[in-house]
Symmetry: C2
Subunit: 387 residues, 2 copies
């Protein structure tokens, strides 16, 4: 197929920030793109060739959207998987596949998949309803404290809760869920695997993630991870095993826990470009977004090595601010060494909403991390009125 002709169209389900950064690459390669998103003000509204407003969870909407695209991908997992399956049956190329997505969309099924494939992951139990957990505690089949996760997708840290008492439990929604051992990890780390439809596989270097203690959101992503190379090797091998088990095509971001005794456990995966790979736009030979496109089109994969070290800071809405967004001190951070802001273009902020990110690149990873902290201290994502 000639991807570089206007006869070819790449469809993207979801028009948020990940889609927007994918479109930078389709524009660079002059690949025709078409985007579906429920919001008329989606960040992808411009820069794609065709924008369709519609519900990603609606079967007919997704099937209709797919009719005139040649390859279909996603930038968000919350899409109608039955529609994807129907499009596959019709002969459309869909990456990630409906099968992969169906497994990943349900956290219980995702965990079972790891167990079935001998992929190391924290012990867990599935429950049809949260209310069933109380009995399990009484019978000592579940012990406090633990991690509770809704099996259906949450976003930005919702749907996950540390449960330390039965009181904590009573405040949770009564839904299908899993209870997972609370892992006493020393680091959260990630490996992005790129796997082309022609079978070629390349992994990005191990990154280290530092989390915001309250919001349960990634605050810094650091590449390369400041860890022993033997850890990087082990993490890389596990990530490859996960990618192969899924027979995944495209990018697969594999989030991992490194425990205090240097055991590595798979936390969860995302079958698309991921926050933990944003640093690659500035720091890597090939950005994760171009790599995803290369992979799903069966083009040769690009070099995943880094040119320089990169640290990414998420820009999230400040607490106490809801309304029209203002980026305070954006000009000030532009003065700092190797600072590259990305503003997603969402017009409304709210506490902890992902509004953008900033990448700091430097020859020295510790220096980059230091500047990242200065960036974090300076910039504020606020609204024109406080609440």
């Amino acid at each position: 197929m000639n991807y570089f002709s206007s006869d070819f169209t790449l469809g993207i389900l979801g028009g948020g920030q990940l889609g927007k950064m994918l479109l930078t690459e389709t524009r660079q390669l002059d690949i025709t793109s078409k985007v579906l998103d429920p919001s008329a003000k989606a960040p992808c509204r411009i820069a794609c060739n065709t924008f369709i407003q519609g519900d990603l969870m609606d079967f007919d909407t997704v099937v209709n959207f797919g009719q005139d695209v040649d390859v279909l991908t996603i930038e968000i997992e919350n899409v109608n998987v039955n529609a994807l399956e129907s499009l596959e049956k019709q002969g459309k190329i869909v990456y990630p596949s409906s099968k992969t997505l169906r497994t990943i969309q349900n956290k219980g099924r995702q965990k079972l998949f790891y167990r079935d494939h001998n992929i190391p992951t924290a012990n867990f139990t599935r429950f049809a309803y949260t209310s069933e957990i109380n009995d399990a505690i009484l019978n000592n089949t579940v012990n406090l404290p633990f991690i509770w996760k809704s099996t259906q997708f949450g976003y930005d840290g919702t749907g996950v809760k540390v449960v330390r008492s039965e009181d904590d439990l009573s405040s949770l929604p009564n839904v299908e869920c899993i209870v997972e051992d609370l892992i006493d990890f020393k680091n959260e780390i990630a490996v992005i695997v790129s796997r082309s439809s022609n079978g070629e596989v390349k992994t990005y270097p191990l990154v280290e993630m530092e989390f915001h203690p309250e919001a349960n959101q990634v605050e810094y992503v650091i590449c390369p991870a400041r860890l022993d190379p033997s850890i990087a090797k082990k993490a890389n091998d596990i990530a490859l095993k996960v990618s192969n088990a899924f027979e995944h095509v495209g990018l697969l971001a594999v989030e991992l826990f490194l425990t205090k005794d240097n055991t590595i456990l798979v936390n969860e995966v995302a079958p698309r470009p991921h926050n933990s790979g944003h640093y690659s736009i500035e720091a890597s030979y090939t950005s994760q977004f171009q790599q995803h496109i290369r992979a799903i089109l069966g083009l040769p994969l690009g070099k995943t090595e880094s040119k320089v070290a990169g640290v990414m800071v998420n820009l999230v809405g400040a607490e106490g601010h809801t309304g029209n967004v203002i980026y305070k001190n954006l000009d000030t951070i532009l003065e700092m060494d190797g600072v590259s802001p990305h503003i997603y273009g969402k017009k409304q902020t709210r506490p902890f909403r992902k509004m953008g990110h900033v990448t700091i690149i430097n020859k020295n990873v510790n220096e980059a991390r230091k500047i990242a902290e200065d960036v974090k201290k300076k910039i504020e994502v606020i609204s024109d009125k406080t609440n």
Copy 2:
């Protein structure tokens, strides 16, 4: 002014490839953009917030376009300068200024400017008509061979001719022109100066340009130049002198000759992002496009150093091919180490038309130059039918 709010609009005159690459940056920073271009199929048509089709040389069109923009810039010099002057009088911010652009637009005036400011440049004589040159040859005030240049803008090597005989002269258009000494240079080199409206100045490293022998077009741009640091220092000083003389705001690409006795002469300048800076997208801490935007908005300038070496190859239409473009072996070059193609999105090719470029990045500049040659050998910009 708050550039990062939808109340602010950046206007760009010209919607070609340079505008397209500027829009990647306005998108990243979520700056609202508006583009004017005569072609409805301009590469900028998508990715800007508002696209207006219209004649860049028409006074009323440009003045009307400027009414609701806050800062106006160009991606091509062939625009109506009187309209820019009128917008400046109205209080609009225009960079480059109409004054700078008026001087640069006419090659005779540009050369006089260098002479007036003691900026080293090849000796020259101005003529109102090409036909007057014959008398000057007879009177020995002009000696063959020489360079003939139309004072009005050419593009992609047109409007410039090496004249070795009176026969060569007779084939030239009878227009206002200059006759310039033929410089026996060993290298063509360039320095890009960024100068902010707040006075801050930063220069990019010296680059070396290799030209296509027939088309008089740049074939490779190499950063860093493989020349003695003392040359880089001297070129940098001259480029700064030129930028200061113009009191230029934005990017100024200063093209220079390095003669066999290591004298540096200014050839010509471009007051905008330039082909000689395309490598910066992948190789520099700050791409020239983001730097241009930072400069004209009075934001702090970014770091101009390189992360790695970069070599850029222009993709021009192959001889004998006119029509719907096909990029032959684009997938093959994606296999090569550190290769990043940029396809501008022009649907029609013709011999030597600039259709895209490829940047090759590598830790080693000689290795990058070698891969660039492989890229050049492999890729072909052809049409669906030969002619």
